[in-house]
Every structure is written in structure tokens, then in C-alpha cells.
Symmetry: C2
Subunit: 486 residues, 2 copies
């Protein structure tokens, strides 16, 4: 025991100096700076315009003075707010403020745009300062030839790490994981571990857990730092660690990883390969980014808005959205065919043309409601085979209640403004259409999910097709059947 403590004293002398930020003055309100930020913590328009003017005036020093006090995340915001050309000028005026921190915070599209504008050596030097997972993000969307040029500029170790990450498909744990983690054998004691951590200056500064592995590098447990700090030095890690652990397969899709983190309340988790060997770790701050991305994605897919990022190049936004509009043109044409079949009836009773959009519109809304709920429930693993029947019944019931309510309202209004028979016709058509919409809104996403397709992508088109067609068909068909158009 005495020897341990003597070594401990020697270690104390040798350990490297820590964070050197002590010299900075503390300003607790650092983040909300009223000169530059508004109450939502975004940069004020006046400030951004001031930067723009100085850039137009060509006063690089003034620009630098304006931008220098910003936090890297805010510099990234500033770059995103500016137009493409102005952005490049700004980058030129503040080159030594363009740290790897700023680059890591940039919106994906803006970052890709800026990397394309830089020579390969410049990108490589930014990449070298970043952690592997951030460096991968930096170059993964560039052209293969650009990537090769940049990789050629890196030193062998960085290049190998990045190439290895790129060998995994996009949006998998293998691509996104961090390769910097602490893994130690289980016979190690807390004291040994603390000494090891103090010794090894190459270790990353940011970790919350230690992974404990066996001789085959299989993870056997994890130790949170807070436990280590509170445990006597002599205790073996095997007695401190938590054996009950969540392992993430290296090929697991990022959305599934995020769901696991949320479900089990994880802070970090080990990533293992096909042989269950520990190859990386993912931490909850990666998950935060993934959740945000995936949640935003579903909205965009449901409405056919493509990537839905305002920084997306205009041409890509156009291509994605027009494709969607053309698909909907197809479903609108189907509805038109149905209307055309009832053309004679409409000629005889033009009130049908006035009222038919109401039925289709409400049906479309009801379908969208149900579809949004269903897609989200599928995405968050709340709707599974185990409760599909129950949920279908629930949605049918809500749709029926909604349908009857709206039917009564529109039925009376129509009966009063037109004829009672028409009132009954539109009421009946409304019930039929809203119930159909409710069922379609559940079944279409569920069927896509069973076929292993992403429900958010194509459900909209099919649900709209069903609700529009049924809406017009039910209304016009019942109108003819009721003899109103004879």
C-alpha cells in the first residue's frame, strides 16, 4: 500500500498540465450577448447586415473585429445566414478564425460547399485537427476524386482511420462511431486505472465511461467515471463495472441506434463488429444530432419536400420537389377520370361541382392526420405487430366519430342551402370518405413497413390517391344513385 501511494506522489509530479483556459475572464452571460444575439439566441439581423456591409466595403480588418468575439457555433451560424458568394468572401477575411470547431458546426450543405471551394491540402489540415468521426463527416459527401485528393494529403494514421470509417455504409454505427475510447482489462483496479489515465496524454479528453474488455477484446462491462471517482483505489474494476450492457452492432442504422439510446437511457454505448469485438463507441451527443435529423426527415418525406434543408442547393430542392408534384399529378388525374365519368351528372346539377371538393378535402385532411400519427408511431417503435389490430380499431373509431360529426354539420348546411336529399348525399359521402381515409392512413404505412419500405416515403401519394378517388366517387355516385341528376 505504501508503495502505491509513493508512486502516486511521483505521478502527481509528472502528470501533464490541464486546461489552460484559466487565464480567460469569466463572463457568465457569455452566450446571450445582447449586442449580437436576439432573445432566441440567434444572431441579430443588424449585426449580420453590419458584417455584410463591411465585406462589401472590402474592409477585412473591420470584418475580423466584428466576428472575432463570436463562439465557433455562432461563426458557423453567420456563415449559414449569408449568401453563398458573401460566405466565401467572409471565409477569406477570417481564415484563422475558421477553426475545425467552426467547420464541425456548419450545416452539412454549407460545409460541403465550402470544402469544395478549398484546395485539398487546406481541407486535409482541417480534417487532421478533427476527431475521426467529424473528419469523416467533413469529406463523406464530396466527390470521390476530391476525397482521394484530400486523403492523399493526410498522414497514414488519419487516412487509415477515415478510410475505415468510409468503408461502412452511410448512416450506420460504423460510419458514425468514435474510435477514441478507453478500454481496459477487468482485473485492473480503480487505482491502476486512475494512474493509467493520468499517464497517457494521448487519450481523448472527453469520455464518460470506461469500457472493460476480456482478452479477446469483447466488452464485458462499463464503468461510469462518477463510480470510479467514488470507489477506493484497491477495488478491481470487475467489482465496480456494470455487466448489463447494450452493444450496438456496427452495421445498425442510425435511427435504430438512436431508438436504443432513448429506450435504455444510455449515455454512451459500445459498438461491436460481427465477432463481438469492441471497435468504437457512440455517445449521446451524436444521438441528439441523429434524432433531430431523423425527426425532421419524416416531416419532409410526408410532404415530399426532399431533404427539406434551406441550405440545400436550389437545383436539388427543385428536383426532389417536382418529382413529388409529378407523382401527385398522377393521383390527381385518377381523380379527374372519376369526375369525368360523372360529367353528365355534373352538367345537370352544377351544385355537385361546388360541393365535391369539400368531401375530397376533408377526406384528405383526415387521411393526413391518421398517416402522420401512424408513421410516427412506426418510427418510434410504438406500433408493432403486437398492437396493430388494436391501433387499427382505435383509428377506425376516431375516424368514424370524426366522419359522423363533419357529416352532420355539412349535411345540415347543404340541406338548408340546397336540398335535403343533397344534404343526405353529402353527409353519407363524408362518412364513407373519412372512414376510408382513416383506414388508409393506418393500413398504407403499415403495409409499407411490413414490406420493409420506409412508410414516410410513399404513403402520402397512396393515401391521397385513395381519399381523393373515394371522395369524388362516393359523393358523385351517391348523388346519381339518389336520383338527383335524373
Amino acid at each position: 500500500m505504501a508503495e502505491d501511494t509513493r508512486l502516486d506522489e511521483e505521478e502527481l509530479m509528472l502528470a501533464p498540465a490541464p486546461e489552460e483556459e484559466a487565464e480567460e475572464d469569466a463572463r457568465p452571460d457569455d452566450r446571450i450577448d445582447d449586442e449580437r444575439h436576439d432573445e432566441e439566441n440567434t444572431l441579430k439581423a443588424e449585426y449580420v447586415n453590419a458584417v455584410r456591409s463591411e465585406l462589401e466595403a472590402g474592409d477585412a480588418d473591420a470584418v475580423y473585429a466584428l466576428v472575432e468575439p463570436l463562439h465557433p457555433a455562432d461563426i458557423a451560424d453567420l456563415l449559414e445566414l449569408l449568401d453563398r458568394d458573401v460566405r466565401h468572401e467572409l471565409a477569406g477575411a477570417i481564415t484563422d478564425l475558421m477553426s475545425s470547431e467552426v467547420v464541425a458546426e456548419l450545416n452539412d450543405y454549407v460545409r460541403d460547399d465550402m470544402m469544395e471551394a478549398l484546395p485539398a491540402s487546406a481541407v486535409a489540415s482541417i480534417a487532421e485537427q478533427l476527431e475521426t468521426d467529424d473528419a469523416v463527416q467533413l469529406i463523406e459527401d464530396l466527390d470521390r476524386s476530391d476525397q482521394r485528393a484530400i486523403l492523399a494529403e493526410l498522414d497514414a494514421e488519419d487516412r487509415h482511420a477515415i478510410e475505415q470509417a468510409l468503408s461502412y455504409p452511410e448512416e450506420t454505427a460504423g460510419r458514425l462511431m468514435s474510435r477514441d475510447f478507453v478500454a481496459v482489462p477487468e482485473h485492473m483496479t480503480v487505482g491502476d486505472l486512475i494512474d493509467f489515465l493520468r499517464e497517457d496524454s494521448g487519450l481523448t479528453d472527453d469520455f464518460f465511461e470506461i469500457f472493460v474488455v476480456d482478452h479477446m477484446h469483447h466488452p464485458v462491462g462499463t464503468c461510469q467515471l462518477s463510480w470510479i471517482l467514488r470507489t477506493p483505489r484497491t477495488i478491481a474494476l470487475a467489482d465496480v463495472m456494470k455487466r448489463d450492457q447494450t452493444l450496438i452492432p456496427v452495421m445498425l442504422d442510425q435511427e435504430e441506434v438512436a431508438l436504443m439510446f432513448q429506450k435504455y437511457g444510455l449515455i454512451s454505448a459500445a459498438v461491436v463488429d460481427e465477432n463481438d469485438r469492441l471497435v468504437g463507441q457512440m455517445t449521446v451527443d451524436d444521438i441528439v444530432h441523429i434524432i433531430s435529423e431523423e425527426a425532421g426527415e419524416d416531416v419532409m418525406l410526408l410532404s415530399g419536400a426532399g431533404e427539406g434543408d434551406i441550405n440545400e442547393p436550389l437545383r436539388d430542392a427543385y428536383k426532389a420537389r417536382v418529382r413529388w408534384l409529378i407523382a401527385n399529378l398522377g393521383t390527381a388525374l385518377i381523380a379527374s377520370l372519376i369526375i369525368a365519368a360523372f360529367g353528365a351528372a355534373i352538367e345537370r346539377l352544377v351544385a355537385l361541382a361546388v360541393l365535391m371538393p369539400i368531401v375530397a378535402s376533408i377526406g384528405g385532411n383526415a387521411g393526413t392526420q391518421t398517416m402522420a400519427v401512424t408513421v410516427r408511431a412506426i418510427a418510434t417503435n410504438q406500433l408493432t405487430r403486437a398492437n396493430t389490430g388494436r391501433i387499427l380499431m382505435r383509428e377506425f373509431t376516431v375516424a368514424a366519430l370524426n366522419g359522423v360529426t363533419i357529416a352532420v354539420l355539412i349535411g345540415f348546411a347543404t340541406g338548408a342551402l340546397f336540398t335535403p336529399t343533397l344534404g343526405v348525399v353529402i353527409a353519407a359521402a363524408m362518412v364513407i370518405n373519412v372512414v376510408t381515409a382513416g383506414l388508409a392512413g393506418v393500413l398504407v404505412p403499415v403495409i409499407f413497413d411490413r414490406l420493409k419500405q420506409d412508410p414516410a416515403v410513399a404513403s402520402s401519394v397512396f393515401v391521397t390517391m385513395i381519399t381523393d378517388s373515394m371522395g369524388f366517387f362516393a359523393f358523385l355516385g351517391l348523388a346519381v344513385a339518389s336520383g338527383l341528376t335524373s
Copy 2:
């Protein structure tokens, strides 16, 4: 120095025993158990049905045996998958498995439902085992009288902490924060801190950072545990800590808190009151929950699907959605009025009735696309006063490109199937409507945001009103103006 180390030895003897999970056997594949889980890590339908059958048969022991090996998060899933009555039966059969962990993992609605079914003393005993923020979540949605009954059963300390949390508005940092944190003075050394942490067994086990405060309890810096572990014992915290910190005002909305965490890549952050005193902390795993919730919320609001949770009581789902449908009934009626005004024209050229839904439908889609993108950009603070003009131009351009593309397609098709004049009319109407939809899709959410209203809530109704009205008006109006219906 010698004294420090001797004390350290004594401390080693006295420190409390750590995690007692060492006795459990390690099973790395604990989470993905093929008997009960499918490949998406959700419970298999067969397993859930097996539980159901045993419950129906009244075999409580069999039920217990089936459920006992599950992780608390999976027990929570199981409860959520079952019907309400069956759920209560299950809870009755596995009372000692209904740990506070399970309760904390339950979906909000399911948890409220179960808490309502239990006596106040039972809820109170669950609450006592939870951290304050989880206990608050447990009771915050119950009736005031239920809450009072439960609070009365708690001991004074717990009751006071919960009442204090409830004094803050829902969804603010003050309501959501954890009151368990470690705050120490800056003159303390690393060694003192480690001793303090080992001594105080009342401290929470899960923390990643130490907050450093001045004598007025104002936060002056933070220390990550990884830095502490790697720093010699003699160094003062003032020299280790990071002074540059993000402080969260206690009244800040949860969505803003989440955005700050994402923007600055935080793991945890200090919550301060109006006097800048440290009152709590929020950690990134709270944020994960918030992000998921808020992101899902926007989709639901945009489509009028209420809370959009499949566990929501049927009556609430009905009320929320029917309200939305009635609002849309209103906008549909406005469109009908416009059509009615052109009734005579439609009578003379029934092709108008066949084609007009196409224009309105594509306009509606284009509007929804733009609106989804804009609402998300506003929610993630990417669209601010500083770049609104630029984004408006961008969306106008994309809308114009889309409009012209669709107009050409439908124009030729109509010209071929009907008459060239009608082809030109529908093409022109399409361009007008799609461009209008694009502008509305940006301006309506932006205007709501400027008026400090949530753009996601009411934008849909207004955008739809504009696109439907303009769609019918432009098409029918141009048709009449072109002389087709004379």
C-alpha cells in the same frame, strides 16, 4: 503531502461499497434476446400474445415468469402494447416488478392512466424512489386533488422539492431540471474534491460534470469528470475548470434549451434563477427526450393530429382532430363559394369541373412542401430575420420552376385531350397557383413567428385556404376570361 495520502488510505477503508451487480452473470447479448424481441428490438407479437393468454387464463405465476426476465424498459413497452384493461391486470400480476424504473419509462398517457388507478400512497411510494424530475413527471398531469393526496403522503423533503418544481410552468427548465448536482467552491483542490465525493454517500451516482460556484452560489465554471481524473490532486479546481459556460435561465422553454444543447454541443448545463444563482442542472439525456417530443409535435400540428400519440385517450384524439377538420371545413367552404360564383361557366363547359381539382391539389402539395421546410427552419433557428429575404427568394424560385414544369406537363396533356386554349388556361393557372403556394408557404409561418405564435399550429389552415381559393379562382377565372365559356 504525507498527511494527504494517509487520509487517503483511511478514506479508502471507509468508502461505501459500490455497485452490487458483479454477482450477475454477464450476457453481452442481453438486449437482443431472440425469444422475446424481434430484429427491431421490439417485443414479438407471439410473446405479447402469450402474456395475454396467461392473463386471460388467470395464471398470475405464469405471467410473472414470462415477464420477470425483461429489462424495465421492455416491461414498460409491454404495458404500452396491451389494452387498457389487460394492462391493469398485468400490473396487478407483477406488482414487485413494477419498479420506479419501469414507471419512469412508460409513455406519458399510459403512466397517467396507471397512476390514476392506484391509491395515493402507492403513487407516493413510487415517487419517493424516483429522482425529483422523474417524480414530477409522474404526477404533473394528474388532477389537482389527486396531486394533493399524493403529496400529502410524501415526506417533507420530497414534497417540498416536487412542489418547487411544480411552481414552474410546464416545459420550462425549472420544471424539467434535476436538483441533484455537485457544486463546490473554486479554491478546492482536485484532491479535496475526490475525497469529498468519496465521503458523501448521499450524492447522486450519475453526473458528468462538477459545477464550481462562488460564495453567492453563482456558477463560475464547470469541470468534466474526465479532466478531474487526469489532473494531479494538488491542483485547484479554479485552474482546471472551464470558465466559458452556457447558463440556462430557469424559465427558458424546453425547445430553446434543446436548441442550446445542440448548438453548443453540451453534455450538461447549469440552470440559474433570476439572480444567476445555480438552482439545478439539465443533462443531455433529458434533451434527447425533448428533441424527440418537439420534433414529433411539429408534424402533428401541421397535420392537425393533436398530440399524435397512439396512447392518447380516444376522446382527446377525437376532440383535437375534429376541431381541425371543422377548421378545414371552413376553408373548403370558402373555396366552394368561389366555385359557385363560376357555376354558370361550369355548366357550359363541364371539363372545368374535371380539371379544377388538379390545379387545387398540386397547389396544396406545393404549399405543404414549402410550409414543412419553413416551419422546420424556423423551429431549428435556421430561418431568422437575418436571412428571411434570401430564403423567400429561394422558395419563390423553386416554386416558379416547379410551377412551370407542372404547367408544361398538364398543359400539353390537356391541350391534347381537350382544346389548346384550355391547355394554355390550365398551364397559366398552374403557374399562378404553385407560385402563390410557394410564397404562402413561407410568408404565413414567418408572419406567425413574428407575431410570437407557433407557426406549426395554424399555418396549415391558412396556407390551404390560400392555395385552394387561388387554385379555383385562377383556373376558373382564366377559363372565363379566355372566352371558353361564352
